[in-house]
Symmetry: C2
Subunit: 440 residues, 2 copies
């Protein structure tokens, strides 16, 4: 005999056992249905991509988190996908015949070797919906409206989407006069404004070699009231890219409102920066404010990504929902529907003894034929053990066929929650059960 | 600007574009529903496993096909899963609290670097259903009955499951008197009996260093009529493991018949060998005979696998459906339902002009609210271009709101297939559409 191998998971990864899978499936089901109601089509791409497809897209810090892969006798340098936007851009470049605008969604795992912590995993599902082939702010607005629909249907009460535009950030960089090499530090510092305040950001900028005078100039700008976009336009007079960014944001807000999004749910935040390097236009991040659980999803416009793979560049915008955090939060806050079952199984069919086995099997098969999820006992154990099994599994109903029942061509149907028992004919049992389950 | 990176897929991998995804989802939906009707629960395991979890499980030829993975700054030796049974065994060993029998299904990709060819991919989905914790042949029979249910519901007409038992093969090895080192060659040769005939197998065995006399002895044995299992029991008198194997097969057939499987669909084939090394008991392979497309699915009992990860060994049996081949075959043979849509989108809402944009957006949102999958045009193009788009996408219905319609608070609803147009009030359009779609 070989020695026992300790059964272990890779760091930061996990199994999802059946009961949790039912929660997960519920959330993914809601997301998928909303994506489709908004006209997005499913797409599947392989987990493995060529390394050259991923490299240079996410920035150097992100790139360190990529998992490489290689077939033991193969020559290709492969990597596990890091997100779903770069693979989408590759697909669009490879399939020019796709009708545009191309709206697709993909709900699939991605891999990032971040430091594991509560709620953060190295393999996690992203739910992405993107629109490729239009520069219209209607597309961005639709993404924002869709996120609201999803959060509302999942049961979140209060949330707000912060909006910014990469073009505004670019203008802000130009306005600051900082050398290009220092810009990433400027943006990173600015992104912390809400968390660490003006003085904190100023100190952070100094650490990033940005002169204090420049820091002050940028921070003064950010204190302009967001409500007064004309004041920003005035400041950006010499930086037309900033004015374009402001105009796009204004348009985006107007379109989102025309789609029924309430004004108070949209918040322009001209200091918000989002991590991924490929964004070029509006960026958005949705924060759940009641209960206060922070950012659940983000996205933005990335008009340059397809162009990295094809001479025919195409504008694109989209969102990525972090499903793992949503599931964790909903579990903690008891937000799942009360009738979400513990098991897929509707009914457990006991096997009374050897002589009655064939009858039990036939009943289980007829319940399945009728569309019910039925389990049957495999061995010959006392009824007590079988009922304990069904109870431990959380199966709601049990069918018992003893000698008396078999002789009378009936079965006993027991409700394991209430203990209530009724006798029904074999012909009726499927319909009786279906009605009980519908009512539950 | 950086140079354009040629957009390419890794060898043997592919994207699945939306229309194909709808076929795929249909097949996976049928499989998933039948799995659940038979009482299997969903499970998710990570794509990456520790190399030590996979190594030594599949045999040396298979092991060469594994993809290794590693985080760029990480220390763990990882690999992409090769099947779903070894991860299941790891899960069961790590979670002793799981109620037994534990019935789970998993529909997920696995990776094998086989030589790519038509219908064979290096990333492919397996649909696995397994039962852990019972030695009862009822469990094996249930797996066989379930496979039949799936194939029938997918529309396959004629199919047969070949059954053998690894214990019979072990007895056959003992009976042959061949040295253990030569046994794999013996089995591999024997497995080709149906393809290359008696003489072919004899030549093959000679090549595998098996004496001709032994080859003759084994081949004579395989010519015993399968219908007469007593003759086999007689030959295996001194090899009790063979008799046990025969008894199990007899029991399995009886149980499957009690579950409603027709006798002619079960075929005992005592020369069938299945590749994976971990099988220990009954093994099965289902072949579609009309149309003649060969093996679509296989499985078997593997009572030793959990024991490699835990002192508490547990018996297990299950099946693995090769979904890619099923989808390809159904596509070739036109087996998908005639009403399977080309797109998820039910209705396309045109945007007549800037003044009517807000109305179109509101209508699209109200259709979505009503549960319909609706798309709206993002730009301001002529109606002709918008209708051509909807037609190219295969969207069945279009909503048009021009100045006349807007004034009368109605919309024009056009059926793109028939060209038929009706006017309905804005309040009615969702219900009218739902009825049309139901009827289609």
């Amino acid at each position: 005999m070989t020695a026992i191998i300790e059964p272990r998971l890779p760091r930061g990864m996990r199994d999802i056992l059946p009961q949790k899978m039912l929660q997960r499936r519920y959330v993914i089901g809601v997301v998928e249905r909303v994506f489709e109601r908004f006209g997005f089509e499913p797409l599947q791409t392989p987990v493995l991509e060529l390394q050259q497809t991923l490299s240079g897209k996410y920035g150097p810090d992100a790139e360190k988190l990529i998992y490489d892969a290689r077939h033991r006798e193969g020559k290709e340098d492969l990597a596990l996908r890091y997100d779903l936007s770069v693979p989408l851009s590759r697909v669009v470049a490879m399939n020019p015949e796709l009708v545009k605008p191309f709206k697709r969604y993909q709900i699939a795992p991605v891999w990032r070797a971040e430091r594991p912590q509560k709620g953060r995993y190295r393999e996690f599902f992203q739910c992405d919906a993107d629109i490729v082939g239009t520069s219209s702010m209607l597309a961005d607005a639709e993404i924002v409206a869709m996120i609201f629909t999803i959060l509302r249907e999942l049961g979140f009460k209060e949330f707000v989407t912060k909006l910014n535009n990469r073009q505004v950030l670019t203008a802000l960089g130009e306005y600051s006069g900082v050398a290009p090499a220092l810009l990433p530090g400027l943006y990173r510092s600015l992104d912390k404004l809400e968390k660490i305040g003006r003085d904190g950001v100023r100190a952070e900028m100094l650490k990033n070699e940005i002169p204090d005078e420049t820091a002050k100039k940028v921070l003064d700008l950010t204190e302009l009231p967001v409500a007064d976009l004309n004041a920003w336009r005035e400041k950006f007079r010499e930086y037309p890219i900033g004015i374009q960014g402001i105009n796009e944001l204004e348009e985006l807000v107007q379109f989102a409102r025309e789609m029924g999004v309430q004004a108070e749910r949209l918040q322009i935040d001209l200091t918000m920066v989002r991590g991924l390097e490929y964004y070029t236009g509006p960026i958005f991040e949705t924060v759940v404010t009641e209960p206060k659980i922070g950012s659940l999803t983000g996205g933005g416009r990335y008009d340059g990504l397809v162009g990295l793979f094809s001479k025919n560049s195409l504008p694109a915008t989209g969102t990525s929902l972090g499903i793992e955090r949503i599931i964790d939060v909903m579990d903690e806050l008891n937000m799942f529907p009360a009738n979400l079952p513990k098991t897929v199984v509707d009914v457990f069919v006991t096997v009374f003894d050897v002589a009655r086995r064939a009858t039990s099997l036939a009943i289980a098969m007829s319940l399945r034929e009728a569309g019910l999820d039925a389990e049957v006992w495999y061995d010959f154990d006392g009824l007590g053990k079988q009922l304990r099994y069904a109870a431990a599994r959380g199966i709601p109903y049990v069918v018992i066929v003893g000698p008396d029942e078999a002789a009378a061509n009936v079965v006993t149907l027991r409700d394991l929650k209430t203990g209530e028992q009724i006798q029904v004919t074999r012909g009726e049992v499927a319909n009786v059960l279906k009605k009980k389950i519908e009512r539950a």
